[in-house]
């Protein structure tokens, strides 16, 4: 009897397992049928009001305001398309990917250049080429390096909404008090100035242990991180930089990490006047306005090494392959990245417009922020192919291990990181 029961039990479980896997194929065909249906329905009455979901994160209320303003203008132009914002809080990519997997992702959403290759290659995004042709979008107006971050195997998957480059934020009052008249132009000046500025518990510089900051210096030194599909983390040029960068913290003691200075990121420390300089992008501006409205600061180009270089961070709007209203979704995408939408970006001054034709407007409106635009000319995109964050995770660990004195020197730490990546 016991045995019989056992076999019944096992059969039941196998049946359920089979059902589970059967379910999946069944549902897939059902949903593709649905897609066909909605597509044909859509063509017949395009005037029917539809509701799109727009997925984004929000780094500040100022950013939310830009999108809200853009959507209000969009609604005026397309009264039949309603747009619902879905702000994802917490870990954006993790949440987004689970939503995609569960088929509940928004129609149009933010995508950072770094994880873009994984999504583009896995076929969950809608290629935009046909729509670009159909709606006659001038893609040549986009900064080419920004657009190429969202192209994969000859197809375009996203249109960049804006971008940001790294620059040097410096506290003018502290500079004056230390008798420094100009922001540093070279690495030597950076170190010397930081030395002068370090006193009374204030550090000259706040440095995050983050490839997204020190890669800029590596590029300046003739190094590279990812070249021709290969990781080149342990080049001697890179090691030199990492020794210098972490040495400012460990040997020269003129800099420290935001965590050790009681903050979560560079912005916290710079706003709290616990450091005189910080390397950040335009997202600092609304943050400082909010947290330290009276802070007297300037923005300069990054100090240079053998050559000028900085990093460009860009975010695009992309379309969900399973969107039920693709034409409308593209209209939204085009509007947000088009001249009308970009005007809001220019007006806010938070980020740089991704369209070349809009650049002059920004220069004229925000002369004190031109360091960002000047940097664009010698900027490199923040992207490492399919490896993506694995590269930056490994590099960050290398710099962590130097700052926390768990590794002898940068070459050893980077060799180890390179090995970890299986390269």
């Amino acid at each position: 009897m016991g045995k019989k029961f056992l076999s019944i039990f096992v059969v039941t479980i196998l049946l359920i397992a089979a059902l589970l896997s059967g379910c999946s194929t069944k549902q897939n065909t059902a949903s593709s049928n649905n897609n066909n249906k909605t597509n044909s329905v859509q063509k017949q009455d395009a005037s029917k009001p539809v509701t799109l979901k727009l997925g984004m994160w929000s780094s500040s209320p100022a950013e939310t305001k830009i999108v809200n303003d853009q959507l209000a203008a969009f609604k005026k132009k397309y009264p039949n398309i309603n747009v619902q914002i879905e702000t994802i809080v917490g870990d954006y990519m993790q949440k987004l990917q689970t939503e995609i997997a569960a088929n509940v992702a928004p129609d149009v959403f933010y995508l950072d250049s770094m994880p873009a290759p994984q999504l583009m290659s896995s076929g969950v995004l809608e290629p935009l080429d046909d729509y670009i042709k159909k709606y006659n979008v001038d893609v040549n107006d986009f900064e080419p390096s920004l657009l190429s971050a969202f192209q994969w195997e000859g197809k375009t998957y996203g249109l960049p909404k804006d971008y940001n480059t790294l620059a040097l934020f410096y506290n003018k009052d502290m500079f004056n008090a230390a008798g420094i008249s100009e922001p540093p132009k070279t690495w030597e000046e950076l170190k010397a100035d930081a030395q002068k500025l370090t006193k009374n518990g204030v550090k000259g510089l706040v440095l995050s242990s983050d490839l997204a900051r020190f890669e800029a210096f590596m590029l300046q030194n003739g190094g590279s991180i990812y070249k021709d599909g290969k990781v080149t983390l342990n080049l001697p040029e890179n090691a030199q930089v990492l020794d210098f960068y972490t040495g400012l913290i460990t040997k020269d003691k003129v800099a420290d990490t935001p965590q050790n200075l009681g903050g979560g990121w560079n912005g916290d420390v710079f706003a709290a006047k616990k450091a005189a300089m910080a390397i950040e992008g335009g997202w600092m501006i609304p943050f400082l306005k909010d947290k330290a409205p009276n802070l007297n600061y300037g923005i300069a180009e990054l100090p240079e090494g053998k050559q000028k270089a900085t990093l460009a961070f860009t975010v695009a709007y992309v379309m969900n392959k399973n969107s039920k209203h693709k034409d409308e979704a593209f209209k939204l995408l085009e509007f947000l990245t088009g001249k009308e939408g970009q005007q809001f970006v220019v007006d806010s001054g938070l980020a740089l417009p991704s369209r070349k034709s809009m650049e002059e407007g920004f220069r004229a409106k925000y002369p004190d922020r031109v360091a960002f635009i000047d940097g664009a000319a010698y900027s490199y995109p923040w992207q490492f192919g399919l490896l993506g964050t694995k590269v930056s995770d490994a590099a960050n660990k290398a710099s962590d291990s130097l700052i926390m004195k768990q590794a002898k020197n940068a070459q050893e730490a980077l060799d180890n990181a390179q090995k970890q990546l299986g390269q």
Binding site: I16, A17, Q94, Q97, A101, N260, Q406, Q420
Partner: protein, 299 residues
Amino acid sequence: MRAHSISKKRYINEAISGYAFMLPFVISISAFIIGPLIYAFIISFKDFSYLNPSSSHWVGFKNYIGLLNDQTFKRALLNTTIYSLFVVPIQLFIALVLALVVDSDIKGKTFFRVAYYIPTVTSTVAVSVIFLYLFKADGLVNTILSKIGIHGQAWFNNVNFALPSIMIMAIWSSVGNYMVIFLAGLQDIPAELYEAAEVDGANKFQRFVKITLPLLRHVVFFNLVVSLIGTFQIFDQAYVVSGGSGGPLDATMTVVLDIYKTGFKDFNMGYASAMAFVLFLIILLLTLLQRLLFREEMY
């Protein structure tokens, strides 16, 4: 004959009601534990990304072999083992001491019992943020330490202190559970035994060693198993404290956090399932080992 068929009918009726009573459980575990267990076992031999299921394919033992060379996973195993080795004995020791204290005839027993149990009903997330606040670079703990001349750390950001800080937190928040179970065990020990021993002239310590401990053996075993299984599944605290990264430098990377990151951030679900089975195996072996050890001691 008639009586026989009645009893048979009764037996069948009883069996039917037995199955009916078990039905919710059987359905639930088939759908949400045993079915998924089989599925997980299958995909642990596949390269499987849920984002792109059509590209999944068999890879044999590649995922398991990959684990052998995975520095992060090894570090996670090491961290989890260290964590378990410290947390299990310390928390059981404190729990036993507290149970004895609360079981004695001191005044305000109820108050102490409640006070000790409260951390147990507190969410691990709440506990984590409370400890992050107390242990931050310029927080209460460091201020108190500096008063007695010790220079504090940024505890959770320090490679050497992050894991111990999580241990302190875990011990603090779970001692109450084990204490209550010890307490129940203590209260089951008949008072006559102690009285008899007292008549025989045994002192308190002798009574504890000769009577209390042996009779508590089952409770200790139960607590040991539960505590060990629990510590090997540590996730919440490590996740909140490190913001999901397991940092600094993997110092707070635990096995479950690694599974979570691999499966739901990198979407490498086959590999994550392989990790999960290794964890399962470890827990199974530990439980069996304990059962074996304790059985031998009992005879």
